[in-house]
Symmetry: C2
Subunit: 271 residues, 2 copies
């Protein structure tokens, strides 16, 4: 039994899609969330900059007495996690491995599609982990740099010509390869799951890393005997690096519910 909080971070607010799933699945767990909104997005930056920012994010979270770290950011999970995960004494979960395990479980034709930020795709982290588990899998991937700004500007609805065009352009080469599974390798993408699903067709399984990661974390806590007491009332705290003004409205988009919990601004300069 361990009632210490879980530390979760993302480059911005997209990681709240994973927090939403964590809250659903683990209602007794305290959560401390850090969104680096003062430097978002990470997805187009270089590997060295992403590693530097990730270390600062973790240094902030570990300034609290947390029991586990969740990297709720596709870009950091693919680009920096291998470099940094052994530097900390805490269990760390990223969004890549849970999604990979689900994808290799559900694919039948071993043709797997993958979309993500430029940094995520270039890292080839998904490819490596899939091929370790399924050496004859074929992976078809595409970097989709416009999907994050489109989602952040609310262009998420069926029939919106901009999101429909972007999805069609990015996904046509993947669809043409006859994949039966598509990994949505960025926390923003589940918000356009129906637009992507319409385009890919109902026979293609969409894998949302946020949901898979929440299940993975539940198991990780169980296995390490560090779950919180059942029935306790959990608290959620949110930290951002830009102003907290407007946080609640933006955050509720990703959290799919009103933000309940304290929101504070933090300066990572000294971390």
């Amino acid at each position: 039994m361990d009632n210490r909080p879980i530390g979760v971070f993302d480059s911005g607010l997209g990681g709240l899609t994973a927090v939403q799933k964590l809250i659903e699945l683990l209602p007794n767990e305290d959560i401390i969330y850090l969104g680096d909104t003062g430097r978002v997005p990470y997805g187009g930056r270089s590997r060295e900059t992403i590693i530097k920012y990730a270390r600062q994010d973790i240094a902030f979270l570990t300034s609290f007495d947390i029991k586990a770290i969740v990297i709720a950011c596709g870009t950091v999970s693919t680009t920096a996690m291998g470099e940094i995960e052994n530097d900390y004494d805490l269990p760390i979960a990223g969004v890549v491995l849970p999604a990979v395990e689900k994808a290799v479980k559900v694919t039948k034709n071993k043709r797997i599609g993958l979309i993500g930020t430029v940094a995520s795709i270039n890292s080839r982290a998904y490819d490596r982990l899939i091929l370790e588990r399924l050496p004859d899998a074929e992976i078809f991937s595409a970097a989709c740099p416009l999907l994050v700004p489109l989602v952040e500007n609310g262009r998420i609805n069926r029939g919106d010509i901009m999101i429909e065009t972007a999805v069609r352009e990015y996904l046509t080469p993947i669809k043409e390869q006859g994949v039966d599974t598509l990994i949505l390798g960025c926390t923003h993408y589940p918000l356009i799951g129906d637009v992507i699903g319409d385009f890919m067709g109902g026979e293609v399984s969409l894998i949302s890393p946020g949901a898979e990661t929440a299940a993975f974390v539940a198991e990780l806590l169980e296995k390490n005997g560090i779950s919180a007491e059942k029935g306790r009332i959990a608290t959620h705290r949110y930290f951002v690096t830009d102003s907290i003004e407007g946080f609640s409205s933006a955050a509720s988009l990703f959290l799919r519910q009103d933000v309940r919990g304290e929101v504070s601004k933090v300066d990572l300069h000294n971390f």
Copy 2:
């Protein structure tokens, strides 16, 4: 006569559209350019964060022996310049005033359109300066958060459905007001000048702050007697805060020529 360099900065690489005009107009002037590519974009961030970043950018530039500062960033010019310009002993030029002076000169019906980032539009900096000069002007403005990511992803050509849709949606309310002048209040927008011009119609004057700023700086140097010696060979140095990998290809998009000059990475942490 003063051969010291001019310091120019922007949140990223868009400010190179102003550098291009500076190089054309002032071929004898040394230029030191800082693009804060590790934290770009500034346009959606809060005023306090933008001011903090701008002070760090200027602290870096003034660590060189420069003779003037050019804020080649619409967001910083509108949001932070009033707060910080008196803190330095150097002449400072932003992109707002030169564009405003041109706009009030060319408008005939005193109906002026303005587009920019969320931070720029919310600052109302253009509005204030226009109304000081032309109290009966009417200003119709729109924040266009998707134009920067679209331009940065190369969606700049006539016939591209995404840029055409975004331009039409953002500009329809402004066009319907019958403006005869439109200020392109962000350094990225001149790259889609033809798409914007097609939509607005040939009778609407488009004002590019980069071009106006270069002319303004030429005058500023002249007036202060700090122009560089005629005929000397100028050097241009470029600094970025993210990796320099890929800088040249991205930079040449905005510079409209190959980058000639040294490119270095800098850490603003200590500024």
